[in-house]
C-alpha cells in the first residue's frame, strides 16, 4: 500500500523505523516490525544507517512486507553508483515495495568503514528524479523498461537547518524532481517547526514530522551539539532530567505525546524514530489514532 492512500483520505499518518542488524539474523528486526504492525501505517527500513555496514534495507523491506508490514525502503546515494541504484530500485519494485525514501546518506567517515570509497554518484535530488523516471518507465539514459516501477516517492527535510532558506530551496527542488511526501529530522522546538511550516505552506506535499523520544539530558545535549538541526529546548532537558533514570521512559512518553499534540495540526503525520524504545510506540499511537489499531495484546507483548 502506498502511503498516498492514507494522505488522500486525510488520515494522520504514523510511521515507525527499524534498523537492519549487523549480520544475517533477522529474527529481532522482524519481531520489532511484527509488534509495530498493528500500530503504525508503515515502517522505514534504514539503509546502512550512520554509514555502518549492515544487512540491506532492500531485503529487510521485502521480508517485513511478507509479514504484512508496509515498508518504506530507504535508499542513500553513499554506497551505490547510478547503475546499482536503479537496479536496486527495480529489485525493490519487483519485490512489491511501494514506498521509497531517498536520502543523501551520512558520509563514510562517520561510519565503521571509514576507509571505504564514497560513491555519491547521484545526489538526493537527482535520485528522486531517477525514481520518477523509473516510475515513468525509463532509465536514466532514456532506455525503455520492460515493466516500470510504481513508487510513492519520499524525501527528507531538516526544519532546524541553518540557514533555513537554503534547506527550503532544496526541498522545493526535491518536489520539482518528483518527491511526493516528506519526513523531517527530529523536531523538539515547536516554534522552529512553525517557522518552517510557514515557509513551505504553498508546497502542497504531506509532511511527517520526525520524533525521537528523549531518553536523557545527556542525549539531548549530545544531539544539540552534534546533530544537524536538532535543538532540544532547555525546558525539555530539565523536564527529562527531573525524574530518576528508572522513570524516564514514562516521562519520555508523556513528553512525546505533549510534543506531538503541539505539532500535529501543522503537519500530515508523524515519523517516530524510537532508537530502541520501540515499546513506546503503541502508547504514543493510541493518543493519535481515532480508531486505534494498537491491540491490547500487542501492547502487552511489547511491554513485557
Amino acid at each position: 500500500m502506498k502511503l498516498s492512500k492514507l494522505f488522500n483520505k486525510k488520515e494522520f499518518v504514523i510511521t515507525g523505523e527499524v534498523g537492519p542488524p549487523k549480520g544475517t539474523h533477522m529474527s529481532e528486526v522482524l519481531k520489532e516490525a511484527r509488534f509495530l504492525r498493528p500500530c503504525v501505517d508503515a515502517i522505514n527500513v534504514t539503509d546502512n544507517q550512520s554509514a555502518v555496514m549492515r544487512l540491506g534495507s532492500l531485503v529487510v523491506s521485502a521480508k517485513i512486507k511478507e509479514q504484512g508490514v508496509e515498508p518504506i525502503y530507504q535508499l542513500t546515494c553513499r554506497d551505490r553508483n547510478r547503475i546499482a541504484i536503479q537496479s536496486d530500485l527495480l529489485s525493490a519494485s519487483a519485490m512489491g515495495i511501494e514506498n521509497v525514501l531517498c536520502l543523501t546518506g551520512d558520509h563514510i567517515q562517520l561510519g565503521d568503514h571509514f576507509d571505504a570509497k564514497a560513491v555519491f554518484d547521484l545526489d538526493s535530488v537527482q535520485l528522486i528524479n531517477v525514481v520518477r523516471g523509473l516510475n515513468e518507465g525509463h532509465d536514466m539514459m532514456g532506455n525503455e523498461l520492460a515493466g516500470k516501477t510504481d513508487f510513492y516517492i519520499g524525501a527528507v527535510v531538516n526544519p532546524g537547518a541553518d540557514p533555513l532558506e537554503l534547506q527550503v530551496i532544496k526541498m522545493e527542488k526535491k518536489i520539482e524532481a518528483g518527491a511526493q511526501f516528506f519526513q523531517t529530522q527530529a523536531v523538539y522546538d515547536v516554534s522552529l517547526f512553525e517557522k518552517f511550516i510557514r515557509m513551505v505552506e504553498g508546497f502542497n506535499v504531506p509532511i511527517m514530522v520526525g520524533i525521537i523520544p528523549l531518553k536523557s539530558p545527556g542525549m539531548a545535549r549530545y544531539m544539540n551539539q552534534n546533530v544537524s538541526g536538532i535543538q532540544v529546548p532547555e525546558s525539555m532537558i530539565k523536564e527529562i532530567g527531573s525524574v530518576d533514570s528508572n522513570s524516564r521512559k514514562k516521562k519520555s512518553l508523556e513528553m512525546t505525546i505533549k510534543l506531538i499534540n503541539e505539532l500535529k495540526d501543522m503537519c500530515q503525520g508523524v515519523h517516530i524514530m524510537p532508537l530502541g524504545w520501540w515499546d513506546l510506540i503503541p502508547y504514543i499511537v493510541k493518543e493519535f489514532k481515532e480508531e486505534s489499531k494498537c491491540y491490547e495484546e500487542t501492547r502487552k507483548a511489547i511491554a513485557s
Binding site: 558520509h107 555519491f120 538526493s124 537527482q126 531538516n158 527542488k173
Partner: protein, 221 residues
C-alpha cells in the same frame, strides 16, 4: 602543482633490500615546492642511504621531472652510472617515477624504479611554504558559473550538486567540524550577488566519463 609527502624510511629501505648501488632522482618542480624532492631533500636522502650502507652513485635533479625532455637532458651526463646502478629512487610524484621508468627503458635499461614519495593531490591553491590546497577536481565540466565561484564537486565532502546534505552543523561540514560547509558558502555568496535563482535550478547528474582514467590532453598545433 602535485602535492607530495615523503614515504617512511622503513618503507624505502624495504624497497631497496638486496640492492647496493642507487641513483636518487629528485624533481626541481613540484617536489621542490613541497620540500620533498628538491636539492636539499635529494642530498638528505642520499646521505641517509649512505649512512645505511648504500652506495649512492648519482644524484640527479631534472628541472621538471614530468617533462620527458627535461628528464632526458638531466640524465644525459650519467650514462655510465645508469648502467651501473642496481635501482633508482625517485623523489617526485607518481608521474615522475613513471617518466624515469620510460626514460631508462628507452635507453634499454630495465631496473627497479622505486617511489620515494606519496602523491597526495593536485594542489591548485598555495600559500608558499605553508599550505597547499585543492579547490578544483578537474572534473571536465566546470560549474563555477552556477555556484558563485565555489566548487561543490571539490569542497563538498559528498560532491553534491543540488544543495547541502542534512549534515552541516553551525555552518560546518559533518566530516570535519573545522571546515565550512561548501553549500552554505555558495548560498551566502549567491545571495550577496543577487543570484539565488541559480541555486534553484536542477543540476543533472555529472558526466563522470569526463573523469575516466587515464586522462589526457592532446594538442595538434
Amino acid at each position: 602543482m602535485i602535492g607530495t609527502v615523503t614515504k617512511p624510511m622503513e618503507e624505502i629501505y624495504h624497497y631497496l633490500q638486496g640492492e647496493k648501488k642507487v641513483i636518487v632522482v629528485g624533481c626541481d618542480g613540484c617536489a621542490r615546492i613541497s620540500h620533498t624532492g628538491g636539492e636539499p631533500e635529494v642530498n638528505s636522502m642520499a646521505d641517509k642511504l649512505e649512512e645505511k650502507g648504500f652506495n649512492v652513485i648519482a644524484r640527479i635533479l631534472p628541472e621538471r621531472t614530468c617533462y620527458i625532455h627535461k628528464t632526458k637532458k638531466a640524465f644525459a651526463p650519467y650514462d655510465n652510472e645508469i648502467k651501473e646502478a642496481d635501482s633508482f629512487l625517485v623523489l617526485g610524484c607518481g608521474g615522475a617515477v613513471q617518466v624515469v621508468r620510460q626514460v631508462t627503458e628507452e635507453k634499454g635499461i630495465y631496473k627497479p624504479i622505486h617511489p620515494g614519495l606519496n602523491s597526495i593531490g593536485h594542489m591548485d591553491t598555495i600559500i608558499e611554504d605553508t599550505l597547499f590546497l585543492e579547490q578544483c577536481q578537474e572534473c571536465g565540466e566546470c560549474i563555477l558559473e552556477e555556484t558563485g565561484g565555489i566548487c561543490p564537486v571539490t569542497k563538498c565532502a559528498k560532491g553534491l550538486l543540488n544543495g547541502p546534505c542534512g549534515g552541516a552543523e553551525n555552518g560546518k561540514c559533518e566530516v570535519d567540524r573545522n571546515r565550512d560547509c561548501a553549500w552554505i558558502l555558495i548560498y551566502e555568496r549567491l545571495k550577496r550577488l543577487g543570484q539565488l535563482d541559480r541555486l534553484k535550478s536542477y543540476k543533472p547528474p555529472k558526466n563522470y566519463s569526463k573523469m575516466s582514467k587515464p586522462r589526457m590532453l592532446q594538442l595538434n598545433l
